[in-house]
């Protein structure tokens, strides 16, 4: 009895060690890349926002295989919840975080139930139409959202009266993204995550095991929307304003590409892809827009040549290296 509990505890301990190792490496590498540059601090904030939206999409898109493209709307809900409660209601901006998550999850739930029969192209098209209609609505509902000019002057959240300096905010953002990535990656390996991926591959088999695949997908969509909402909320810390155009359809496309670039085998592919997307599209020398073109080319090349993304490619490259070494030794 005692021995089984020890062997069960050891992998858990090892997992935790590996995860904290990855987190520390990520924080260290990002801080090193950022340096003292204020511009790069903005870029890291943007990458963190992208990463959260991509992590939100990871559950339904990569695991459940249902491509909902309404994620720009969920990120906007997160940002507008913070903006509305703090600027228009005078509450602490912290209240906007759970409020935005709850509203985004509720909206995703309704949308998921309404579209539960759809998959593939149909789901993508309807959710895109929802995102378009929502953006129009944001520009129209002036009393809540401030109309086309949006809401500005959003206060930076404080901790018991202490207003953290910019560098601490960036650090907190990176740590937050790491925590969410660990959470999603654990979810991926959990029984629930396995059921979710199994339902993508073979719905009837999962159904016959007593699990309802549509139920799984709806929960994944709602949870993903809540995570994407934190991305929008985080963005208001960096840029203290939000407009209907802040989270456009481009964000949805980029969020689809991030796990593909980083690698779909692990939840860490999403933040890695976000960092690459920001570095390529915004930090490139050359004229405006060349970064996005390069990005589109990179995504197509990865899809066609290295479907595992950067993480998958690194894995297979190291595996090949190791196997060739062992062959040499023989």
């Amino acid at each position: 009895m005692a021995s089984t509990s020890i062997t069960a505890a050891r992998p858990a301990l090892r997992d935790a060690l590996v995860e904290s190792g990855i987190c520390l490496t990520v924080v260290a590498v990002v801080l090193l890349w950022m340096g003292p540059s204020l511009y790069r601090q903005d870029l890291v904030f943007l990458a963190a926002t992208y990463a959260l939206v991509a992590l939100g999409m990871y559950l339904p898109f990569v695991l459940a295989g249902s491509l909902s493209m309404a994620y720009s709307a969920y990120a906007a809900i997160g940002a507008y919840a913070v903006a509305y409660l703090s600027v228009k209601q005078g509450l602490s901006p912290w209240w906007g975080w759970p409020a935005g998550m709850a509203i985004a999850a509720a909206v995703a739930l309704v949308l998921a139930v309404a579209t539960r029969k759809l998959s593939g192209f149909y789901l993508a098209a309807v959710t895109l139409l929802f995102a378009v209609a929502f953006e129009h609505w944001l520009g129209d509902a002036t009393t809540i959202t401030g109309g086309a000019s949006g809401i500005s002057g959003i206060p930076v959240p404080s901790l018991f009266g202490w207003e953290p300096p910019r560098y601490a905010q960036v650090l907190a953002a990176i740590v937050f993204v790491c925590v969410v990535a660990v959470f999603i990656d654990r979810l991926r390996r959990s029984a629930w995550g396995l059921a979710l991926s199994a339902a993508r591959e073979n719905g009837p088999a999962v159904q016959s095991a007593g699990i309802s695949p549509p139920h799984l997908t709806v929960v994944a969509l709602a949870a993903g929307a809540a995570i994407a909402a934190t991305g929008g909320a985080l963005f208001t810390v960096s840029v203290q304003a939000v407009t209907p155009e802040t989270f456009g359809l481009d964000l949805v496309f980029l969020a689809i590409f991030m796990p593909i670039i980083g690698g779909r085998g692990s939840a860490w592919g999403a933040p890695l892809g976000a960092l690459i997307v920001v570095a390529v599209s915004l930090n490139m020398p050359g004229y405006q827009g060349s970064g996005e073109l390069l990005l589109a080319g990179v995504v197509l090349a990865i899809l066609l040549l290295a479907p595992g993304g950067v993480i998958g490619w690194t894995h297979s490259a190291t595996a090949r290296l190791i196997s060739s070494r062992t062959r040499d030794r023989r």
Partner: protein, 299 residues
């Protein structure tokens, strides 16, 4: 411009405006329809083909002094080339690797859409480009109805292209084989059909129709490097409303969607229009996912 005064459901001017964008939606839907039938695959990149053709035509006229007809030929040729490249470079390898699964092809075509958009933005600039009317038609009046030359061109082109494509589908061997390949490409291959060639026809024709649609519609709306996505969406939606049962379905769906948009924005404003379009899509998906015209399957 439109005449002043109270305009309502009875105003023929609004019906004409709806028919005009409806014809454009119908052409884009027809372009998507051909690939759906031939490759059972929704080509989301059809809108960007139309956008690329329109941008090239407008750009060639403005910067190289190419006459509109020659520019249109150039634009359509490029649309066909991109469409064929989509099939050969992206769709075929991805579908072969994934065993025909839907999601990988959808993701790949989404990346293609983004790539075409960014390439067009880089080459032709990220500002709207105006395109001249393809046919030298003057603005004219029919009774109280004022018809712009570009409107007449769109309707005329649709009236010519749609019957021609239907004739091609029904009268030529390749057209008849298209459905066989789309329904079951393994079976079609088994009985000796050159599946790849038939699919190339579907993609090529689809690109040509999309390019032509983009060029004639851009005379009205102008072309912008991100126009492609919304064009794809409306074409797709027209096909959802019409269904894929008959080649006439894109026209029916397109016209219905055109009138929904025009009257929706007339009565409820731009936001109301986009919400109405979204609700119509939801209603159709919930109640009649096969569209208005379903193909009768004989067993």
């Amino acid at each position: 411009m439109y005449s002043e005064g109270i305009r309502e459901m009875t105003d023929p001017q609004l019906w004409l405006a709806g028919a005009e964008i409806g014809c454009f939606f119908a052409l884009v839907a027809l372009s998507i329809y051909l690939v759906v039938v031939g490759a059972s695959f929704f080509n989301f990149a059809a809108g960007p083909y139309a956008m690329a053709a329109a941008l090239l035509t407008g750009y060639a006229a403005a910067h190289w002094g190419v006459p509109i007809l020659a520019g249109a030929v150039l634009g359509i040729a490029v649309a066909v080339a991109i469409s064929l490249a989509t099939e050969i470079v992206v769709v075929r390898p991805v579908q072969r690797r994934s065993g025909g699964a839907e999601l990988p092809a959808l993701v790949a075509v989404t990346a293609t859409l983004f790539a075409i958009q960014q390439l067009a933005g880089t080459v032709f600039g990220r500002t709207p480009v105006s395109v001249r009317n393809l046919l030298p038609l003057p603005d004219f009046r029919v009774g109280s109805l004022s018809v712009q030359g570009s409107t007449a061109t769109i309707i005329l082109v649709t009236a010519l292209v749609l019957p021609a494509v239907i004739l091609w589908l029904r009268r030529t061997t390749t057209g008849q084989l298209l459905r066989a390949v789309g329904d079951n490409h393994e079976a079609a291959r088994m009985i000796g059909v050159n599946v790849n060639r038939v699919r190339l026809w579907a993609f090529g024709l689809s690109g040509a129709i999309a390019g032509l649609a983009g060029i004639v519609f851009a005379a009205k709306s102008g072309a912008y490097f991100t126009s492609g996505l919304s064009w794809t969406l409306t074409g797709f939606l027209a096909l959802v409303i019409g269904g894929t049962g008959t080649p006439w379905a894109p026209l029916i769906g397109g016209l219905a969607l055109g009138w929904i948009q025009v009257f929706g924005s007339f009565y409820f404003g731009a936001t109301g229009s986009s919400i109405a379009v979204f609700l119509v899509a939801l209603v159709f998906f919930a109640l009649r996912p096969e569209g208005l015209f379903q193909r009768k399957v004989r067993v």
